[in-house]
């Protein structure tokens, strides 16, 4: 599944601005291009810590990988200024990604905001034959902040549904509406989700007992490789709740493993 973790200087091949305040950098890095969707790179910035960013697209053929991020603070602001031709110092591929999509059941991708990119990678890496069984639900606060819709449209999925909080694109509301309807119609399907924690909590609640659900989490990280125990998330264990590491045991967890 995942290749060996490396620290590498990856040249930036392309820089795009897929939405206001969002940047996607495509880097040349064969070691990362072979990653599982849902895995991430730990990106060096001028700060004390690296910044974890999931792969937005993976192309093992050309040895390239994408990093799509929203500018929220000093690290992403610095990253957003990087240009094609410069190099990024990346640690990766890290963590445990999404399992491969099912061959025999319907599946759904539920992404909110910058939770959308890793789900694109998941759809992109799925065998073409499995894509018609997939639905993508892409949520954003408004049309101007929606990323990768066209990329999803080009994949030949069964359906691509858009929701916006303000109704400026697709259905007004959150991704949970279309997910609930889908769960209704597709008992026993598989859910892959990434987005803000309240959204993931909703996904977990809706899916419970109805679908196998996998969620990709965010947590503040130190090392990114499992050494420092910074990225704790509360999970159910044999003796009650205990902490697991988002960077190594995740970022993808079965929704039922976690304490919500």
């Amino acid at each position: 599944m995942s290749t060996r973790v490396q620290e590498l200087e990856a040249p930036i091949l392309e820089r795009r601005e897929p939405a206001a305040g969002h940047v996607e950098l495509v880097v040349e890095a064969p070691a990362l291009a072979a990653a599982r969707p849902g895995q991430f790179a730990h990106v060096r910035t001028p700060g004390t810590l690296r910044r974890p960013i999931s792969f937005s697209r993976l192309d093992p053929g050309s040895g390239t990988a994408g990093l799509l991020f929203r500018v929220v603070g000093s690290g992403t602001a610095w990253l957003a200024e990087r240009q094609a031709g410069e190099r990024l110092n990346l640690l990766g591929p890290l963590g445990r990604g999404f399992p491969e999509p099912p061959a025999d059941r319907p599946w759904i991708l539920v992404g909110g905001g910058v939770g959308i990119p890793p789900l694109y990678a998941q759809a992109q890496q799925a065998p073409a034959a499995l894509r018609p069984a997939a639905t993508a639900v892409l949520g954003a606060r408004s049309r101007a902040l929606l990323v990768m819709e066209e990329d999803f449209q080009a994949l030949g999925l069964g359906a691509v549904v858009v929701t916006t909080d303000d109704g400026s694109a697709g259905e007004a509301g959150t991704v949970l509406g279309p997910l609930a309807a889908w769960l209704e119609r597709n008992p026993g399907g598989v859910v892959y989700a990434c987005g803000p924690t309240p959204m993931l909590r909703g996904v977990a609640e809706l899916s419970q007992g109805r679908a196998e659900a996998y969620v990709a989490l965010e947590q503040r990280m130190g090392c990114g490789v499992g050494a420092c125990l910074a990225c704790a998330v509360l999970a159910h264990g044999p003796q009650g709740p205990h902490y697991r590491r988002v960077c190594r045991d995740g970022p993808v967890f079965a929704a039922g493993e976690l304490v919500w």
Partner: protein, 318 residues
């Protein structure tokens, strides 16, 4: 250049660059990136008699040139360490320092006792910054008596070299250094993190789940150097410098301030490859400063080596 350093009569490290406790896990997590056997030694994450759950997240927060952490000493316990982690390190040929923690004097001694039988451990490092649950949660390291009590209890059950790791969060670090040296410490590591706090403005709460946390990284380098300077001139045992090291010149500053070896912590997160680079570039850095080896640099800035300079004050200064 021979980089080996002698810490005690029978404890020699191949080079003076040690991975600090808590930032290098149990040595296996980073092994693909940083082969632990090429470092001077690896200080593993603090281990307690039983598993400790740790603090609620968030557990790290970036600060200017620094990092706050409140991991809360989460660890799987000494038995799991011996079973699941130590063998791989020993097999690789790494020099291993086991960092030990406890909530009571007895717990510290208990960890040391259970480690005594294991092969492949170079030394123990006692983290005295743990809360003393029998005395209202005050850190053992904040008081010379409790620091000495922990040291003596561990000393009583181990024949291994015993390093005590000092906390900078005290009025008189030299008093603690003397107390633990008298109680049997063979070396002192200086410093553990500095207590700090950050506010998450959006959540209107302290940023860390543990509320306060330990500050590490380049921000605290001057504090660490000051403690190394004071302690290395006050006690007869070797000092290991730790706090904010990120360049070969930082290593040299610590040696010249009086450290015989150094530990590198927070740097690992941003630049794991830099750990080995520090080992590789040390000869050139030492040579450029006129030293033929790490030993010559130790304490080279101490007053006993000074020559008079123009800036020194004249006799009639008012």
């Amino acid at each position: 250049m021979d980089l080996s350093v002698q810490l005690t009569r029978d404890w020699v490290l191949p080079n003076p660059i040690i991975a600090a406790s808590g930032t290098f896990g149990f040595g296996d997590e980073y092994a693909e990136l940083v082969p632990p056997e090429r470092l001077g030694a690896v200080a593993v994450k603090g281990v307690s008699p039983d598993p400790w759950p740790g603090n609620p997240p968030p557990r790290v927060w970036e600060t200017p040139a620094g990092l706050l952490n409140s991991i809360g000493l989460q660890n799987p316990g000494v038995d799991a360490f011996l079973r699941d982690h130590l063998p791989a390190l020993v097999e690789r040929g790494a020099h291993v320092i086991v960092n030990i923690i406890g909530h009571t004097v007895e717990e510290y001694a208990e960890v040391a006792r259970r480690l005594e039988g294991a092969a492949g451990i170079d030394a123990l490092e006692v983290n005295i910054s743990c809360p003393n649950i029998k005395e209202g949660g005050m850190s053992f390291g904040n008081d010379p008596r409790s620091a000495a009590a922990v040291t003596a209890a561990v000393r009583a059950v181990t024949r291994r070299p015993l390093v005590v790791k000092l906390s900078p969060n005290v009025t008189d670090v030299v008093a603690i250094a003397r107390a633990v040296t008298d109680a049997g410490a063979d070396a002192l590591s200086c410093i553990n993190t500095v207590v700090g706090l950050a506010i998450d403005i959006e959540r209107r709460r302290p940023a860390l789940g543990g509320i306060t946390g330990g500050l590490s990284g380049p921000a605290i380098k001057p504090v660490a150097l000051r403690v190394v300077w004071e302690v290395s001139q006050a006690v007869p045992v070797p000092v290991i410098g730790v706090g904010g090291i990120s360049s070969p010149r930082d290593v040299l500053e610590f040696l010249m301030a009086g450290a015989r070896a150094v530990m590198v912590g927070t740097l690992t997160f941003r630049d794991p490859g830099r750990l080995l680079e520090l080992v590789e570039t040390l000869p050139a850095t030492l040579a450029a400063a006129g030293f033929r080896g790490p030993g010559e640099a130790v304490g080279a800035a101490h007053p006993r080596h000074w020559r008079r300079e123009a800036a020194d004050l004249p006799e009639d200064f008012v």
